[in-house]
């Protein structure tokens, strides 16, 4: 019997359902995510059908390709930064089955569409079909529908191939520097786009924006969403050209994805042999614990965390992604908005984002945590050392971010205050994230893809991230008020105040989360142990 696409879809749905079984809070998260997605889909539909309702052909031609392009960007970046990809169908699991590669790729690809985000995106973009129908009749509607379908296919193809590429790049230890540069370049692409969008919005320069939209409509990003409007405008010749463009892009991405997949599948079975590391003449303890750390429990735990943040692909991926996003985002916002006051809000976001990397810190190492349970490591010590190990990387990064942002907006005298704000946000973020990491840990799948999450995990990760950032924004309100009201004094007291605020919040968080961990060590171990 031939293996069809529907087998993959059924398998994916079955795995999703089984993952939810008997895990109440996962079900809650899933439902919450589904409700949010439904809301977003309805909102999107309403928004996209608005130009049609108003009968504004030109507005539609500007708005829809732009919105479609943003949607694609979302599919490109959100998995890397926030959500990860749902790899409940791990390609490596299919390595031993006698499946032709075409069947496998087609199956995995279609199965990746059978998820909440894809369905919600599709439902939302159907509003464009509505618009096209009102503007150009049934013919335009049919073409717009085809466009929307190819659009969602393109979204999925982009996110799959990109995460798979990064996964491959980050896995090979030698290529990690290359991956860093690549990721930086991709993030840098955000800049010009943002500048254009902000400039357009600020000047309300509709002709300029319209020109941008016209260009985007001819790129794979906007083409799927402008086809129907071309029919409505009588430019029938544009439809086959755009369709060809989009289909060729999808084909190219899938081909690329299948090439990286092949490497990933081989890698899972016969991974590259052990790396030759030079022998060390140091004594055992000196090999583990650097000289500047105490040769105690705390030193050992912190040193192990430091090693793990660099040696484990998943952690390294999140560390690199954070560094790049953390440097680029505030700089572009700061430069494009032109005033020194603006990046403060962005910096709180960045500080909290750093802390969010620890939200599932116990999930990273999975059942290896058993060693600490057997040794009876006290909760406070465990959490303190984890924060210390992570901060070894994050603190310098935050310093660099503050300096770069201060220089980029042309106000170097604000750098100490910016450091203070970052420290406060990081401390508050940690205070929020530590109890979460103890209470709401989840097992990560044992795959080679550092962006992979088990089904439902993406929802959890995304929601927790946003909750933590929102919480950090709310709790740092006093700091923001002082910064806003006492502007000149702030330059002086910003640094000490921020450090104190952050440290205080962190101590509170440790006080709360430490005993919590003491009480539920075995339960935590059970939740982070991947079920076979």
């Amino acid at each position: 019997m031939a293996v069809g696409v529907r087998h993959f879809v059924k398998l994916k749905l079955r795995i999703t359902a089984n993952g939810l079984r008997g895990q109440t809070w996962r079900v809650v998260l899933f439902v919450l995510g589904a409700v949010l997605a439904t809301g977003a889909a309805i909102g999107g539909y309403a928004l996209f059908s608005l130009p049609g309702l108003l009968g504004e052909q030109r507005a539609a031609e500007v708005a829809l390709p732009l919105a479609g392009g943003l949607l694609m960007l979302g599919w490109l970046f959100l998995p890397l930064v926030f959500f990860g990809v749902d790899e409940s169908l791990d390609p490596a699991r299919f390595a031993l089955l006698p499946l032709p590669r075409r069947t496998l790729i087609r199956g995995l690809f279609v199965a990746s569409l059978a998820g909440v985000p894809a369905v919600a995106t599709f439902a939302g973009t159907l509003g464009m079909v509505d618009s096209a129908a009102r503007l150009g009749g049934p013919g335009a509607a049919i073409v717009a529908f085809v466009g929307v379908v190819t659009g969602i296919l393109l979204c999925a193809a982009i996110s799959r191939s990109l995460t798979s590429t990064f996964a491959t790049a980050l896995r090979s230890r030698r290529a990690r520097d290359l991956a860093t540069v690549l990721l930086a370049c991709v993030a840098a692409l955000l800049g010009p786009l943002q500048l254009a969008a902000l400039a357009g919005a600020e000047n309300a320069d509709w002709t300029g924006l319209a020109r941008v939209a016209d260009v985007i409509a001819w790129t794979p990003f906007g083409a799927p969403y402008s086809m129907g409007l071309d029919v409505a405008a009588g430019r029938l010749w544009a439809v086959p050209v755009k369709l060809a463009l989009v289909l060729a892009t999808i084909g190219l991405l899938l081909w690329w994805w299948s090439a990286t997949l092949e490497r990933a599948m081989l890698g899972a079975v016969g991974r590259s042999g052990p790396r030759e590391r030079p022998e060390s003449a140091h004594k055992p303890v000196a090999q583990l614990v650097p000289a500047w750390l105490p040769r105690t429990r705390f030193g050992a735990l912190t040193a192990r965390e430091m090693r793990y943040w660099w040696r484990e692909t998943r952690r390294r991926a999140s560390l690199i992604t954070f560094s790049v996003v953390g440097v680029f985002l505030p700089v572009f916002i700061g430069v494009s908005s032109g005033s020194a006051g603006a990046p403060t809000g962005m910096l709180i976001f960045v500080g909290a984002l750093a802390a969010v990397s620890l939200a599932n810190q116990f999930g990273f190492e999975g059942s290896a945590y058993a060693a600490n349970v057997v040794a009876g490591v006290p909760g406070r010590l465990e959490l303190t050392s984890r924060v210390a190990g992570f901060s070894v990387y994050v603190a310098p990064t935050l310093l660099v971010i503050a300096v770069v942002v201060g220089l980029a907006v042309g106000r170097p005298e604000t750098v100490p205050a910016l450091i203070g704000m970052l420290a406060a946000a990081y401390g508050v973020g940690l205070a929020l994230v530590l109890p979460i990491s103890v209470r709401m840990a989840y097992a990560l799948p044992d795959t080679a893809n550092p962006f992979a999450l088990s089904s439902g995990g993406g929802m959890a990760k995304g929601l927790l991230t946003f909750a933590a950032m929102l919480g950090a924004a709310v709790i740092t309100v006093p700091m923001q008020l002082v910064a806003f009201l006492a502007h000149d004094v702030w330059l002086w007291i910003g640094l000490p105040l921020g450090l104190l605020y952050g440290a205080g919040a962190l101590l509170l968080g440790l006080r709360l989360a430490g005993p919590m961990l003491d009480r539920r060590m075995p339960e935590l171990l059970a939740t982070v142990t991947a079920r076979q």
Partner: protein, 258 residues
């Protein structure tokens, strides 16, 4: 069948009382009472899925039992975990090590985690790596080790702080004969020095060669326990095991297509 009465020791190394664990609807361990006398070499036998790993996990504080007690050298594992955990070394099965460390780093980590003095850790770690032929200067990450090497480094980590009780889950699984002989020798020395070893296995030959006491576990309960001689009687341990556990040993007319 009469269950031989075990000689009651005043202060057993490990005492389990009425341990129960339920996973969803399945009763994995259905009330286990067991005394492991101090100084014994204790083998926990059972078929796959008998509840060996679940029982040992509950005994060492890795898994919270639904009911019952576990005491290590008269310290309650769940009431006074710090005191109990300080006295044991554990080699869990099916659990990952911190495998992004090198073997040497992993040993140092375990030593410091147990609150040992750094100099003592250095000295013992070097000795253990040498004896187990893992190489003190070897900087290979544990994740790149072979299965047998992983078992050996796990054992070294469990023994580093010289605990009074070693709890080993399947210590001989995936270990080559040479390493297995080495591990057997190390464990014998440890027991003759006054330590207690509890290990699980389903390899009869190993248990018969090593153990002073055995217990047979099946379906989540202890079916038979006592000294090796008491349990085995005149027959081979394998015969006793098969009789106690039951189950199918040969095929009939099926599988004709093989």
């Amino acid at each position: 069948m009469t269950i031989p009465q075990q000689r009651v020791c005043p202060d057993p190394a490990l005492a389990l009382r009425g341990l129960v664990k339920r996973f969803d609807t399945r009763l994995a361990v259905a009330g286990i009472d067991l005394d492991v006398p101090a100084g014994s070499f204790f083998g926990l036998l059972g078929p796959n899925g008998a509840g060996k790993t679940t029982t040992l996990s509950m005994a060492v504080g890795l898994l919270r039992p639904d009911a019952g007690q576990a005491r290590i050298l008269s310290h309650d594992v769940w009431a006074d975990p710090a005191a109990a955990k300080a006295r044991i070394g554990v080699l869990p099965d099916g659990v990952r090590l911190f495998d992004r460390l090198t073997g040497t780093e992993l040993l140092a980590y375990h030593g410091l985690l147990r609150g040992m003095d750094a100099d003592v850790v250095d000295q013992r770690a070097a000795e253990l790596l040498d004896v187990l032929a893992l190489g003190a200067d070897n900087r290979t990450l544990v994740v790149d080790y072979s299965a047998g090497m992983k078992k050996k480094i796990g054992l070294a980590c469990a023994m580093l702080h010289a605990p009074r009780l070693l709890v080993l889950d399947e210590p001989f699984e995936a270990v080559d004969p040479v390493s297995a002989a080495l591990i057997r020798d190390i464990l014998r020395r440890y027991v003759s020095g006054g330590g207690t070893v509890v290990f699980s296995s389903h390899v009869m030959a190993v248990v018969e060669r090593l153990c002073s006491h055995v217990a047979i576990l099946a379906g989540g309960t202890i079916r038979l326990h006592g000294t090796l001689a008491e349990v085995r009687g005149e027959r081979s341990l394998e015969d006793v095991f098969v009789e106690v556990v039951g189950g199918r040993m040969a095929t009939g007319s099926e599988l004709a297509w093989l």
